[in-house]
Subunit: 192 residues, 6 copies
């Protein structure tokens, strides 16, 4: 039943407008128990817009923020390939990572060393990528299972994990990781 109308300046791409209306529908349905069939969202472009004594006319629309999930995918993809140069292009200058046990790192290149003590190799199987929209900040939660090899070469799989990525202005400024690797290690037949 909710009908949501958004007035924007022209200039936003169909993809950005599509993302916007989908966000709004989801956000509204978290409060109003309406079906998708009964949730209507549309965009009206204003030819002229004035607020705070400033007049904007057609085409002055700012670029939209990138899709946070796509930014995180691109980042994780680059890290997975150990292409830290490309990965850094998605990071904010004050980027920080916190890994299980509380280890805090600021540079991606610190990762291999930190990881070497924990596993020989690891691959992340993503099951869910979920977004929390908080205005200036968008948080993306990725969860799924880890598959890989312990330092001694034995394999592991199905180890639960969740990552929290904090984005502002389209850039990742914080990544936090939790997983069951320690549980899995402690539960191994041969304790480390």
């Amino acid at each position: 039943m909710p009908v949501i109308s958004v007035t924007l300046l022209p200039g936003y791409t169909p993809e950005a407008q599509s993302r916007l209306v989908s966000h709004l529908a989801a956000a509204a349905r978290a409060v109003v128990p309406a079906s998708e069939a009964g949730t209507i969202v549309f965009v009206h472009e204003a030819s002229t817009f004035r607020r705070d004594a400033r007049v904007l006319t057609g085409g002055d629309g700012a670029a939209a923020l990138p899709d946070a999930v796509e930014v995180v995918r691109a980042f994780l993809d680059a890290v997975g390939r150990r292409d830290f140069e490309a990965a850094r292009s998605w990071l904010a200058p004050d980027f920080e990572m916190v890994f299980p046990g509380g280890a805090l790192m600021r540079d991606l290149t610190e990762l291999p060393a930190w990881a070497a003590a924990r596993y020989q190799s690891v691959r992340k199987h993503y099951e869910r990528l979920e977004q929390a929209w908080q205005g200036d900040v968008t948080v993306v939660f990725c969860s799924g299972t880890l598959q890989g090899r312990w330092p001694d070469g034995a394999g592991f799989e199905g180890v639960r994990f969740v990552d929290r990525f904090e984005l502002a202005g389209g850039r990742i400024r914080r990544q936090e990781v939790w997983n069951d690797l320690a549980e899995a290690r402690a539960g191994r037949p041969t304790a480390p």
Copy 2:
């Protein structure tokens, strides 16, 4: 700059409308890089509304969904008090919990036994409660640190954790937990 207008039937409380407009503002600002000052959201109540050949008039508005964060708070509060009766009132019939290591439980009363082997007592310090609005489902992520006592009585604190709560229709149907307890245990001077 985005101006968002929502048409609703009358009957939603000021609290529900307030939550709705805040949701919409946050969701919009995740796509359109506008300041809070430039993001306008308001509600117009329609005296009569027709869709799918059904006409609704004043006051037929369905009740709003409860605030997911408040539901989770109330649930965690009751669990903390071991008041499982009250806690269950927030759960969906098919509720499932997954704890570190992959332990799956369906009944809250299973918790004490499962926990006894891991810690004598534990208290959760919540730092963030974040919502991902997904239409039919709202997911709440709670993160913070754990403080408590190991089975041998020694204390621990600052152990990272994150919970994922999945809600539908205002009820919790799934809870997933990750934390650094195993890391902390493995890192204890005297290994268990």
Copy 3:
């Protein structure tokens, strides 16, 4: 897909608003091939309205026009009961009736005499009452079958008829009748 918003002054009853939104949905769907599910119509009441230098505020809404089909039903009902006094309350001062063969009458009391030569009694079975909205004028078409007795007492039934009622300002100003009675009469075994 069409979303139709109507701004009205307050004061129109829920029934009138319901009729209005249904009219608008039907009228729109005659041009835009949308399903009922995708056709949305709602009413926003304006607290203040200004046009042509006149300002109207809450509650100045004029009464709605009566439902034309209900006016015609009430009229036909009264005529059927030969309660011409009540029937006249639904007529405009310049009311005219045109019957098969082109007979023009202005007074309902002329009916019995005109009818007596054609049939002993007649009853109208209405199958459809359809409205053509033409702004200042609403036309109602009633169609169905006639059942009754010829002057010689023999019965007839299933004789097709259609009436056209022209209403303005909620009053009937013209009624036109067509039917197959002459066909039926000519087709009788015993020709008159």
Copy 4:
């Protein structure tokens, strides 16, 4: 006084939009007693539209339904020329015709034979073409007088008639005819 705003996707021609706003004005004025001067209708094109989890953007507008009166005119025109091939292009597959006396026909080519017994030739003078918008169906009523020649060659004119055309999806699926020909025949100096 009513102000009606319609939100549509782009793609509808000016003619279709013109027809739409005129329909809406007429439909509204059948309930709200406002003058034409005080009835305002306009179309806002939405750059993006979402309902039922589907997002449509610019130019995805479906074609408008044809003007029912124009379809009926084109059909009657072709029938009048005995160009049944062209006439059939306006008909739905399940088209049926009901003529005075209840004769039911499905094929236009049956017409000449059925008519031959009744009249040598006939021409329809249309005075009114009126539309009843019923959502999925639009009904067009045509009324006026018939002029022609009886089988014996004598002429007739001014014979009242009304046709009811039922359209769905822009095609005619049913035509019903009533007229005073039997009355006129019975009233001829030399009875047949």
Copy 5:
């Protein structure tokens, strides 16, 4: 042709809303050459309104500014009665008056002395009170003619004048006066 919709929080009186829609109509017609008949302005009350992260719901509407012309009338009325106490209630703390010749005064009580040299008595006949709306400031121009007695008792009338009143926040902060008194004095048969 312009249709202007204003969304406000509830709480503004019918008088304030009436003034608002009239202002907007006049302001629009200074740019768009539309007739009064074609200029439509209405107010929709929003049940909830959010901007700059603040949510306002029903009834939080701030009081409207007073009608600037009424403030000026009340002020001039009080001054005319020499009721400076009442007159001051309409003034801003930094009020200044500039009279012909450039005389600057801050206190109303200075007026009688300044005037005594110029005329024995004077009455203002107002023909026009015109408003210039400038956002934070509203300027009212009053013009008409002066009638009175010269110091020597001889009468004068029809002497042109114009006053400029500058208002902010509903209070008068500046008054400037121009008139033809000097012209009239110089043109008197017996020069002073």
Copy 6:
């Protein structure tokens, strides 16, 4: 807080739309005590518009009225250059001027003669140009100081003046002038 939406037909230039939204913001803020930051005005172009049974579609928008202040500037500019031909292009056929003392003139060429008795030369220093929007009429008030030479060659400056220009349909139909020249003359050491 007020959100003002204007529906116009396409065809108005960005400049005209900009002027329109600024007018509306100023007019609204004269009644509603909102900040510029909280005053939102935008224009939606309607693809089709119907009122008073007339349908207008894209691009039929009438030209906007010229900016009254610009018209007055251009006029005063031409008069200052004594280019009465150019100046007249801004005047309505029934143009009238009223100068201090009540002198009424209809032709600009009468000015030099009238002025010669009063001053040798004069230049207007404009400090403020203010607009009063009155629907069919826009009034512009210009105020500032005069600088020039008396007939005897002595100079004067800082003499207060105000002009009232009445415009309709983009043309000046009336100019009224007030100033302190007579005051200044009377106050000269050597009386004329």
